[in-house]
């Protein structure tokens, strides 16, 4: 079988929604047994790409494959090898954890004795064994996410797609989530594609692909990215308006951004010394960001992660959460 095909193959994928180009000629390969992170701000096209990879959205052009199976022409083959955790929980919260897993096993055609064995294994793995017969609605969001990861493993998936697995979780649950993902990847020889907009989370991934406005900006290991694009950034708050003018006019090509009176400049060690000599008395505060993925991102996109408001869908979900209707 397709043993030499990459776990995930994306070639020149484009997708347009009306007048916005959500994905603009995206290409990359994910080798097997890697944790591959897709990093980008909200609205960068990560989820669109995720939906194409999990076969529920057809690209306008380009091809994508999961372990060699084309997501458009062989969706069933691709699906049976994919384990997917969507951004929003997709559990049936009126069923228990065990029932959710069993339904998933049935739906993916896992035969009975094996199903039972797998359910016990994955519940153990995500430490939910004691909660197996509790309804999913009583779970915290971290537990729900873990249950979903467990569910994605029931059918022996080879490639795991995690869409923002840590969004909406507290810091502790986020760390725990990553521990699970790393352990799984190591123990099961899984390939994991994970999207996130938390930069600090991708430091330990094998490869990071930074995308924005539907384009791949950079793709490499975290250390290589830092080495290549990382920047020391000097942030200072000038004392007076005149100082601010002076700094800006002196280093126009080093300016990264200017916000709330604070000036951020691209710098290196020599520059910092020179700057302190000349402007040391003219700034109220000064800090230096050492190369991090944060600054890689900043220098690639020219800005920090952005946010957006709630859409109709989120409003409906909120309606459901406050009690909604008795049909729920």
């Amino acid at each position: 079988m397709n043993t030499d095909a990459p776990a995930i193959h994306v070639a020149d994928i484009s997708k347009r929604y009306g007048r916005t180009l959500a994905l603009d000629g995206i290409s990359f390969d994910v080798p097997r047994n890697q944790i591959f992170a897709l990093l980008g701000p909200n609205g960068a096209g990560k989820t669109t790409l995720m939906h194409i990879l999990c076969t529920i959205l057809a690209p306008d052009s380009g091809t994508a494959g999961i372990v060699g199976f084309d997501v458009v022409r062989q969706p069933l083959e691709a699906r049976s090898r994919l384990g997917i955790v969507f951004q929003e929980p997709s559990l049936d919260d009126r069923l228990t954890a065990r029932e959710n897993l069993d339904l998933h096993g049935l739906v993916f055609g896992v035969p009975q004795p094996l199903r039972k064995q797998r359910i016990a294994e994955v519940l153990e793995l995500v430490e939910l064994t004691e909660w197996a017969d509790k309804p999913a609605r009583s779970f915290s969001s971290g537990m729900k996410r873990r249950l979903e990861i467990a569910r994605a493993l029931i059918h022996d998936s080879e490639v795991m797609l995690l869409d923002e697995p840590t969004a909406g979780l507290d810091a502790q649950s986020r760390n725990r989530m990553w521990d699970y993902v790393r352990r799984l990847q190591a123990e099961r020889q899984l390939t994991v594609l994970v999207t996130t907009h938390y930069i600090e989370e991708v430091e330990t991934c094998d490869q990071v692909c930074i995308i924005d406005h539907g384009k791949v900006l950079a793709i490499d290991t975290p250390s290589a990215l830092k080495h290549r694009y990382g920047q020391q950034v000097l942030r200072c708050m000038p004392r007076t308006e005149a100082d601010r003018e002076a700094i800006l006019s002196r280093f126009p090509d080093r300016l990264v951004e200017e916000r709330d009176g604070e000036i951020a400049l691209r710098v290196d060690d020599a520059f910092v010394e020179m700057f302190l000599d000349q402007f040391g008395n003219h700034v109220r505060s000064l800090s230096i960001d050492v190369p991090s993925l944060e600054t890689v991102f900043l220098s690639l996109t020219g800005r920090e992660m952005r946010d957006r408001g709630a859409d109709t869908r989120e409003r409906t979900l909120a309606f459901g959460r406050i009690g909604g209707e008795h049909t729920r």
Binding site: N33, C54, S90, R94, L95, E99, L106, V107, A186, D206
Partner: protein, 289 residues
């Protein structure tokens, strides 16, 4: 990170099983989805209370209350004693009502499945969309038939002599009706983007259908076509005759109190036709969405 780790040579967990043939996966999935619907309904206390209180209200309160006023002599000189009481007359219609509420209600949960992501989970499974829809509709049908049976329990109070054969026939009819109505519910749900509440469905779809299906007032069998149109306004007679549910209620009446307004096969024909057409529309929507 794992690049530094030596590759794990022994993989204790993934001993990939032989993948089942397509048909077997579909059947297994169908069973799973059906079971889910039934389990969900069994755990929804609100739906259960509604399903039990509705027939009590209609049969015991409305039926018994109106029973004395329903006599053949109302129609002037054409004295005609109908062979059943009002309670008996309304009883099959309440069965239909309970089936209708439950069917549409379980179909409307399609909206929640969509909004809360569960639908997506099955759409990325190896199940075909036809299987997914069929599982949903069959699940809703089963629950609706059970709710219909809740009404049958009250048969004694409505003085409906219920034999086992009649009950089984009625269950068969209820199943066809429930299938058609669940499909209708899915068709409506597919056309609604955000959830407005079940009250809208209840008042805009279920009750109008119910009231115009000659369920709570008869188009008197003793009157000819022309006489009917004299007794009742023209538009009402037309609506009642156009409403497919009229024929379903009539079929149930035929089985439960052995009285038909129309030819007996008509009800079954209309219901089967509606079931096929509505399921086909639901399927079409579902494949497109």
């Amino acid at each position: 990170m794992s690049l530094e780790n030596p590759p794990v040579a022994f993989n204790p967990v993934r001993a990939t099983y032989a993948r089942r043939p397509w048909l077997l996966i579909q059947l297994g999935g169908l069973y799973g989805l059906w079971l889910r619907e039934v389990k969900r309904a069994a755990r929804d206390r609100g739906q259960l209370i509604g399903g039990a209180s509705r027939p009590i209200l209609w049969v015991l309160i409305l039926g018994i209350g109106l029973n004395p006023y329903f006599r053949g002599e109302i129609y002037g000189e054409a004295t005609f004693v109908v062979p059943f009481t009002y309670l008996q007359f309304i009883f099959p219609a309440v069965v239909a009502l309970n089936v209708m509420y439950t069917s549409v209600q379980s179909a409307v949960s399609v909206i929640w499945d969509r909004e809360f992501g569960f639908l997506r989970e099955v759409l990325v499974s190896p199940l075909s969309r036809t299987t997914v829809l069929l599982g949903k509709v069959l699940g809703g049908t089963t629950v609706a038939v059970l709710h219909g049976c809740l009404v049958l329990i009250l048969a004694r109070f409505a003085a409906v002599p219920l034999t086992l054969v009649d009950a089984l026939k009625a269950i068969g009819l209820m199943a066809i009706l429930a299938f058609a109505l669940t499909s209708l519910g899915v068709v409506i749900a597919n056309r609604i983007r955000t959830f407005e509440g079940f009250g809208v469905f209840s008042n805009a779809v279920i009750l109008p259908l119910y009231f115009t299906s000659s369920s709570i007032f008869p188009l008197d069998p003793a009157l000819s076509q022309a006489q009917t149109r004299v007794t009742y306004p023209d538009w009402l007679v037309t609506i009642v005759r156009l409403n497919p549910l009229t024929y379903a209620v009539d079929a149930l009446r035929g089985v439960l109190i052995h009285y038909n307004q129309f030819v007996p096969w008509m009800g079954i024909a209309v219901m089967v036709g509606a079931a096929i057409v509505l399921f086909a529309i639901a399927l079409y929507d579902f494949h497109r969405a």
